[in-house]
Each structure stands twice: as C-alpha cells, then as structure tokens.
C-alpha cells in the first residue's frame, strides 16, 4: 500500500544521489551496449525491421550490444523522467510527435545535425516540425500514421450495405443496419467498437466541424472545446458512438488492444492505425482466417464526399541529453531510419518518414486508405505544456463524462477547457 509513497520518497533520494554523482561521472572509453526504448507498436507491428536495424548496426560496431526495451504509451514518459533523475537514461528513445515539445524546450534532448541522418531533406514536414525547436533539430522522424476504419466486408455485405459510407450520416445508418442484423442476438456485438477514452478519434469529430481543442489568443492559450463548432462535433460523436458501440466507456483503444477484440468476431469495424490490420491477423493473438474478409476505408466527414480529418500521429527518435553513447545511438537511429528500414515500416501500414517512399504502398489496397486518411489531418495545439494535457487525461476524462452521459456535452467541455487553460498557460 505504501509502496508508491515510498517510491516517491526514494525517487527524491535518487534525485539527490544523482545530483552528486552526475557531475563526477566518467565517460567510459568504449561502450559495450546501448539501450533503445521503442514503443510496443514496433514489437507488435514490425519486429523484423528492428532486428534488421540492429543487425546492420552490429555489422558496423561488432561487440556492441543493442538492448531494445519496449515501452507502453501510458507510462513511458514517467519512466523516462525517472531515468533522467537517476542519470541512467536510455541512449535512444521514441517519442510520440505530440510529446516532443516539452522535452525539447526543457533541454532534455541532445541537439542533432539533421543532415547526418538518412533522407533528412525529404522528411515529412509534419514530423520534421515536431523535431524542431527554435530552429534547431532534436530528433529524427520515425514514422507517421493516420487512423482509418478497419471493417468486416462480409458483415457489411450480409447487412445489405453497398460500398463504404460517404458521410457520417451514412456511416451511422450503415452501422444501425449492422446492429440490427448482428447486435440483437449477440449482445457483445458492436457495429463500431469504440472505447470511451479514444480521444484521437473523438477529437476528429471536433475538427471535422471546424472546432479546435485550444487556440492561442493575445499570447495566451484558450481552450475552445466549449465553442459552438466543437460542441457540435462532440455531440455527433456521442450519438454515433452511443448507437453503434458497446465497448466500455472507461477504457481506451489499447486496453484491451482493439484489433484483437475485433479479431474475436463480435465487431463490425473499428478505427485504427495501419499496423492494427495485420495485428488482427496475428496467428497467436488474433485470427488469421479473417484475412479475406477485412477491408479499410477513411472515415467520412459530415460533409458528403469529404474525409474526416484524422490525427496525424507519428513518432520520432531522440537521444537524451544525458546519454553517454551519442555516436553509437546516432548510428543505430541511422540504421533504423534507413530507406530500407522505412520501407519495411511502411509496408506494414505506416506512413514512412520520407516523401521519397510515398509511393511504396501505391499498389497495396490494405494501406492506401490510411494514406488517404492522412491527407486530411489535424494536430494537437503546439504549446510546450501540451503533453501535460495528455498525461493529465483531461480529454479522456471529458470523453468518459460525455459518452457515459454523466455530464452534458457542454458541461464536460467547459470543465475540460478550464483545465486546459490552466495547464497550457501554467
């Protein structure tokens, strides 16, 4: 029971210990290993690319071991902060592109020379800007992705749905057909599996109605979820999710992994990243038999024929300021973001970090919908403190309140705005 409090206290002790040792630490002449923190997505989605990069790295640096440690999105920053305090950071760390600003602004990352890395001239603009602070580069774009609807073609057909929906209204009416056909008998069935804390996909509705999370006005950040447009988007989201999803309102898309839930057969569609499609077919966790009946399409906008803007997610690779193996770390990043590695990452359904590979998935019907979804996209407010809104679960809490009906859309949005104002201007 007391473990956490004790841990907090110990953490404080570590701070002090680190403070006294950091200054006197001696750089080892030749490291025999580097530590790499990647997110679990790579482990589920493209483990062979990681292995190949490490092999390529080892060919250049024989005798140097690469320890790849997979992290989860929920707590990787907390763990990273603890390593900063302890002076034992990893040598390479993956960041979500909405997480980098705070770490760049506070000097936690080592400045890099972009031209030393592969394809730096053709890096995706969105990711490049997430690695740039005051005109200096602090990380290397890794990959990007936008979410699209992954669905069961067989169920859509059996429910009498022709083609894929071209507007939110049609998405809703198609979903209702599915609920009618499958949802009556099977009370676990969701036409659209949508856990309540999926804030990326929920905010897409806000941006679709020209709303925003926050804007900068007269030098201050102002939460704008209570604006008319945002409220409209959130209300539509509530209606659609309420009618089509029986997923828990208090969990997120990774707990349990929605692709795996999908693979169990009680789901008509979910909104996910490109890599989640093959993940649903994973022979140990998913169901390979679904391969012929799976499809994907970009989420339509409320305006017929347009696409809903999706979050332009992505990841970057950085070297923490305290890493003692900068050269080795940079070499590993080079191997992992080489043209061939990025091709591998792209082939499982991601958008590669460079525009020269834009056509790599041209002929792949599995991935084209995700690339199309990325064409219309939105991004989080670029405030240095933004990641605290994510880590404080401000949007997730608001969504739980909205989807569960605990608060009205307006009341939930107002309280979220208040917190956003406090955090972003803090």
């Amino acid at each position: 029971m007391k473990a956490r409090v004790i841990a907090a206290v110990l953490f404080a002790a570590v701070l002090a210990a680190a403070a006294s040792t950091a200054s006197g630490s001696v750089r080892s002449a030749k490291a025999d290993s580097i530590t790499v923190w990647l997110m679990g997505d790579a482990q589920s989605g493209w483990p062979t690319v990681v292995a190949d990069a490490t092999a390529a790295f080892k060919a250049k640096h024989p005798g140097v071991d690469v320890k790849v440690q997979y992290q989860t999105w929920g707590d990787h920053l907390t763990k990273f902060d603890a390593t900063i305090a302890g002076g034992d950071t990893p040598d390479v760390i993956e960041f979500g592109n909405s997480e980098t600003t705070k770490y760049m602004a506070n000097g936690a990352l080592r400045q890099l020379t972009a031209s030393n890395f592969p394809n730096s001239k053709t890096w995706l603009a969105g990711l490049r800007s997430s690695c740039t602070y005051n005109g200096r580069t602090f990380c290397v774009p890794y990959y990007a992705g936008a979410r699209a609807i992954v669905y069961r073609k067989d169920q859509y057909k059996a429910a009498g749905i022709r083609g894929t929906p071209r507007s939110v209204a049609q998405f809703l009416s198609d979903g209702k057909k599915l609920m009618k056909k499958y949802g009556k008998k099977d009370r676990n069935y969701s036409a659209w599996y949508f856990p309540g804390k999926n804030w990326y996909a929920s905010m897409a509705f806000v941006y679709d109605y020209n709303g925003q999370i926050a804007v900068r006005k007269n030098g201050k950040w102002v939460g704008t979820l209570e604006s008319k447009n945002a409220i409209k988007g959130l209300t539509v989201a509530k209606n659609v999710v309420g009618a089509l999803s029986r997923a828990s309102k208090t969990t997120d898309e990774a707990h349990p992994q929605q692709a795996i839930v999908f693979s169990k057969g009680h789901v008509g569609a979910f909104i996910g990243n490109g890599w989640e499609w093959p993940y649903a077919l994973n022979k140990d966790l998913g169901n390979p038999a679904l391969a012929p009946v799976m499809g994907a399409y970009p989420m339509p906008s409320h305006v017929r024929g347009r696409l809903m803007p999706e979050f332009l997610g992505g990841s970057d690779l950085a070297i923490p300021a305290q890493s003692k193996n900068v050269t080795l770390a940079a070499d590993w990043i080079k191997a992992f973001t080489s043209t061939s590695a990025e091709t591998g990452i792209a082939k499982v359904g991601n958008i590669p970090n460079t525009t020269i590979l834009a056509n790599v998935n041209k002929d792949n019907p599995q991935i084209a919908p995700f690339a199309r979804a990325a064409a219309a996209s939105w991004f989080v407010p670029t405030a240095p403190n933004w990641v605290n809104v994510e880590n404080g679960d401000v949007l997730q809490n608001m969504l739980v309140q909205i989807y569960s009906g605990k608060k009205s859309v307006l009341a939930a949005a107002k309280s979220a705005d208040k917190q956003i104002n406090k955090i972003l201007n803090g």
Partner: protein, 317 residues
C-alpha cells in the same frame, strides 16, 4: 547493596557521583538504540528531509534535467491551498478513509465474534480462508477483482444478471466514481479484514469466561454482554487496530491505481494519487511534494492519537 546504600551520606544519595560505571550503564540503552535510529534516519529521515526541501522548490522537467531546483518559499503550498481540486481530493480521501476503516472494523469484529462461536472444523476453515486472503499480494488481488467486475466478461455482471437483480450486461462499474470507489472499497476491506479479525479473535480469547457467565446470570442479553463486558476489554485492541487502519487506508494507492489501469480519472484522485500524478505525470515535483508533505502532516495527527492511546493503555495496566 541495600546496607551499603543506607550508609551513604544523604547529599550524595540525592546526587550520585558520576562514576565511569554509571555513565556506561546509563549510555548502554542509547548505544543499543543507535543502529535502529541510524537505519530510521537513513531510510526515513533523509528522504523525508529531501521531500520537504523539494516542496519548497520549483522543480519541473527543466530543473530535473539539470538536477537543481529553484527555491520559491511557500509558493507550492499557496498554490495547492488555493486549488479547489486539492480540497476536493482531501475531502474525498477523508471520507474514503472513514468508510473503509468503519467497514473494516465492523466486519472484522463481527467475523471475530463469529469465529469464537464456531465449531472446530468451521473455525479452522474460516481461519485458513482469512489467512489466504491475507497472503494474497495486493497486485494479484486487485487484478482478480478487476476481472470479476470486468465490463464485458466479468463474473459479477454475469451473476447479478442471472440472479435477476437487474440487467447488468455491459454494466460499467467505473463510470460513476461512487460505484467505482465502492468496488475499490470492497477490495480494501476484503484485504484488511483478516488482520483485524485474527487479532481480535486472539483478543477475545483473553476475555474471562466467568465475567461473561456472571453477566448472563444477572440477566444480560447478548448485546449487553458484548457492550458491557467484551467491548471494554477489547477497547485497547480496537483503538490500536483503528489507528493502524486509518494510517493504512489514508495512503491507499495500489488498489486505485491498478484497478483503473494506471490512469485513474480525476474524480478518483485520492491524496496519494494526486501527489503522484502531479509529480510523475505532469512533472511538477515541487507541487507533488507539497501535497505529500500535507499528507504526512495529516497522518501525524492520526499517529499522535495512536501513540497517546498506547501510552495511556500502558498506564492503565
């Protein structure tokens, strides 16, 4: 010895000479305390000092990277005392603790009284059950409970639906923080009962049977026997157990944290969670420490009551 002492002049009896022997004799207990004191200072005192120091500093990510905080006096305390959420969290923590301690003590005492009246076989069975509960690590226990109240496949929803209590298909226990904290209370009370029960059962064995019989002969009913005979004899034990329970339940962390997938929403924040989130999620280590210090201060109050009672109990005996 006694003879020798009487021969000493009065003055020197009042003020014994500081012989080497006496000094060593007087210092011995303190010398024996030194190792324990040193350990306590090292593992508790020093971190506590650092915590307090941190609570007077601005210590964010910027300071963390440089391993150097900026002193801001009472700034962090002013911030939290002006923060409405902080007072909500304090109130929630106090109510939560009261409910948990209350239920633990009532149910624990009840089960102890029950065990005392059971036959040998049932008593052994129940005691083994209690010890097993006690032996279950918190993390394991919380996960088991979490599966039981699972949204989709939980046995709780299934059973309640089968028993026609209502339609619990896809009932989400954690939408409302009342029912969510209710589940967490159940886990905590469930885990805390064994210690209270077994301790009180041992205490009950000390209640002289003659007293009970005498009261019964005088016509006392079961409730009166309990109130007038058993309770007063158990009182010191009950007070110690209650104080300990307050200390434990006030700083509950794991049950909430694990049950809610390590991302509890704000209406589940207890003081420990709030301090943790401020420190390790938002990187406001100074603010987090200030909250922790307030928590320690509140705990001190409970501890003082506990220690006073211990001393008092000793005097009465």
């Amino acid at each position: 010895m006694a003879v020798a002492e009487t021969e000493l002049p009065l003055a020197s009896r009042r003020r014994p000479r500081l012989s080497r022997h006496r000094v060593v004799g007087a210092a011995a207990p303190y010398a024996l305390l030194v190792p324990t004191a040193a350990v306590i200072v090292a593992v508790l005192g020093y971190p506590l000092y650092l915590l307090i120091r941190l609570s007077f500093q601005k210590y964010g990510l910027f300071e963390l990277v440089r391993h150097k905080g900026k002193s801001i006096g009472f700034g962090n305390y002013t911030t939290i005392f002006h923060d409405a959420q902080f007072w909500h969290v304090v109130a929630r923590t106090v109510v939560f603790t009261a409910v948990n301690v209350g239920l633990t003590m009532i149910l624990g005492t009840g089960i102890a009284l029950l065990i005392a009246r059971l036959g040998r076989f049932m008593r052994t069975l129940l005691t083994v059950g209690l010890v097993l509960v006690w032996a279950t690590p918190v993390v394991v226990a919380v996960n088991i409970w979490r599966w039981m109240v699972d949204y989709e496949f939980g046995v709780a929803n299934w059973t309640l639906t089968k028993l026609h209590v209502g339609d619990f298909q896809h009932h989400d226990w954690f939408v409302s923080n009342w029912s969510g904290l209710g589940v967490i209370t159940a886990v905590i009370v469930w885990g805390a009962i064994p210690f209270v029960t077994i301790t009180l059962y041992a205490g009950l064995a000390q209640v002289p049977q003659e007293l009970v019989e005498a009261a019964q002969i005088d016509g006392a009913r079961a409730w009166n026997v309990f109130r007038e005979v058993t309770l007063p004899l158990l009182k010191p034990l009950l007070i110690i157990l209650t104080s300990l329970s307050i200390i434990w339940d006030f700083q509950v962390f794991n049950q909430v944290w694990i049950m809610l997938g390590e991302r509890p929403s704000q209406d589940y924040y207890l003081m420990s969670i709030y301090a943790f989130v401020q420190s390790f999620r938002i990187n406001e280590y100074g603010l987090g420490s200030a909250i922790a210090v307030v928590m320690v201060a509140l705990m001190m109050v409970a501890t003082v009551v506990y220690v006073r009672q211990m001393v008092k109990t000793g005097e009465v005996r």
